[in-house]
Symmetry: C2
């Protein structure tokens, strides 16, 4: 196991390259502090389609096509699509893979999908199996809300702990060599830590941050133990979508383990929305960390402003059925290490 | 890309070893022609649990524990669990991963999950990242039926094309070295072909075989084109769960491409049930190909009766929501090559 590092971490010795990225969001995210970073801000989050599910599919597909177009690759040049979303049977990713015609491995890690796809994609490229690969995840407020909680038409008030599902899709292309016209030329993926499912018994489907924080804590602690690194070895430690309360909980859990993050922690859920009371608890959803990575973080790595980050998308593993049956909501978090070689 | 073979196939140069396997089924499968092959035949498919979902989880977890126990490995020795099931948000696999405490990558490929997990698991081991890994998939008639179609209490009659979802769980352990007390010592995984999502416009949720056959055809044709092999180079070409009509359709589609399978094709869906009218169209579900592989095929590879097989689990990518919205049902099929070195 020449590429295994400690219990649950791996290294990508060949340092696979990030070739291109693209992000799409809706108006709410576009009005947030990261608004100017995103490639596409949708005026109409239904994209003129007949259903929100069809709109989510269009957003998924268009974002992947854009990431390919930026480096003049055709979808048929992609060796494998690694993708997932929040809908039952990851139906957005399935139809997206059909429309794009790419070889496809479907993933489900709830909001941890972006780092799960980078982790597996990194291995596919580093191991010399397939390249380039497209790593994608997306979510849509209107499809997720009505699947997981209540019909939108009810106008149900959100409880004070609930985060808002981001409408957004993010795509990163990873490969073993830069294309002729690269978009990114200094970003590489160098390692990863596989997550474990952790369950502290949270049963409140409106408090996802609390459900995911224990898994984020476990992955962070394991990553540093496996690699022998310290938080100071990273410019940023980025969690996916813990939001306000989940972030607080993460810091307390880490403190109990004697680990501080040296002021280097940010959470995508806390970055994405305008400072308005209705967004107070932050964003969530597969798309949240995906668009923040593609739109906000990668340009900083490319410019050399960030040298090394630990990106940990976090997922709450609930299903509408399990919630109704009173089961608890465990979480999972996968970590990937992204570096700038500028 | 030293391990890439053609457009969509990969080779595992180190020939990762299958260390152990285990299978659990319910009474209906136990009464079929393969009944004597399975490790556990459940008398009560509810396992005394409060819900069928809890029963499915117990079946999943017990099967993985059994595969580990057969080679005196503890769940904590497993480097990664690669698993999925048919339930919304693969909730069985999620809770299973939690209970087993294994690092976990959640997959969704519907009934193609068994070969998707072996394909990714093969790369994890072959690339020197993590070992051993547990590849698992499962399904349960009663949880799937009520999620995808109708409440069981309605007693809805099945249309003549509908296959029966297998109640079963299969687990294979793959690793870079044999344990001290091996269960299998002659079975290796040597390559794979990644599937594409293919859609011929089938919209009948009671004719899954027809939805999956085009994807199986595509993967088979691609596998032979990529590797330069012929059907005669395999002792068996095994599809997952096309059932009676899907098998017929596969043969016609292959014929159109000028490819015959030289009498070497079997379908797990056609093998698993007793010859009774109610099972006439065969079995389906993630568990169908998983238990047939673990219970029936691997012992034949281990004994050297089979030298090389192409195992192609097939998935129908439908969701209850997409079916209600009138969308078509695409299919996907991933192929893995298993060999005997006896």
């Amino acid at each position: 196991m020449q590429n295994r590092v400690g219990a649950r971490s791996v290294q990508f010795s060949s340092r696979p390259k990030l070739l291109s990225c693209a992000s799409t969001v809706s108006r709410a995210e576009g009005e947030g502090p990261l608004g100017s970073c995103f490639d596409v801000i949708l005026e109409d989050d239904k994209l003129g389609a007949g259903s929100f599910e069809q709109a989510e599919l269009m957003m998924f597909e268009n974002t992947v096509r854009l990431a390919c177009a930026k480096v003049r690759l055709s979808p048929s040049d992609i060796g494998c699509l690694l993708a997932g979303d929040l809908l039952n049977q990851i139906i957005t990713a399935n139809y997206g893979a059909r429309n794009l015609g790419m070889p496809f491995l479907g993933l489900y890690g709830a909001c941890s999908t972006m780092s799960e796809s980078l982790l597996i994609g990194g291995m596919l490229v580093d191991g010399g199996y397939l390249s380039p690969v497209a790593c994608v995840s997306c979510s849509h407020f209107s499809t997720a809300e009505r699947q997981y909680r209540f019909p939108l038409e009810l106008g149900t008030t959100a409880p004070p702990t609930s985060q808002r599902t981001v409408t957004g899709a993010g795509c990163l292309l990873v490969g073993d060599a830069l294309p002729e016209t690269p978009m990114l030329s200094h970003c590489v993926i160098t390692g990863a830590t596989v997550g474990k499912v952790i369950d502290l018994g949270i049963t409140d489907a409106n408090n996802m941050g609390a459900a995911m924080a224990p898994a984020a804590c476990d992955t962070i602690v394991t990553h540093f133990a496996d690699t022998g690194r310290r938080p100071e070895d990273y410019d940023l430690i980025v969690t996916g979508d813990l939001g306000k309360f989940g972030t607080e909980m993460l810091h307390r859990l880490l403190q109990k383990q004697g680990l501080g993050l040296a002021g280097r922690h940010v959470d995508c859920g806390n970055l994405i929305y305008p400072p308005e009371p209705k967004y107070d608890c932050g964003g969530s959803g597969c798309g949240c960390s995906a668009v923040t990575l593609a739109g906000h973080l990668l340009p900083k790595l490319e410019a050399g402003e960030l040298k090394r980050i630990l990106f940990i998308a976090t997922g709450a593993l609930m299903s509408p059925t399990s919630s109704l049956q009173g089961e608890s909501i465990p979480g999972i978090a996968h970590g990937v290490v992204l570096e700038s070689n500028k």
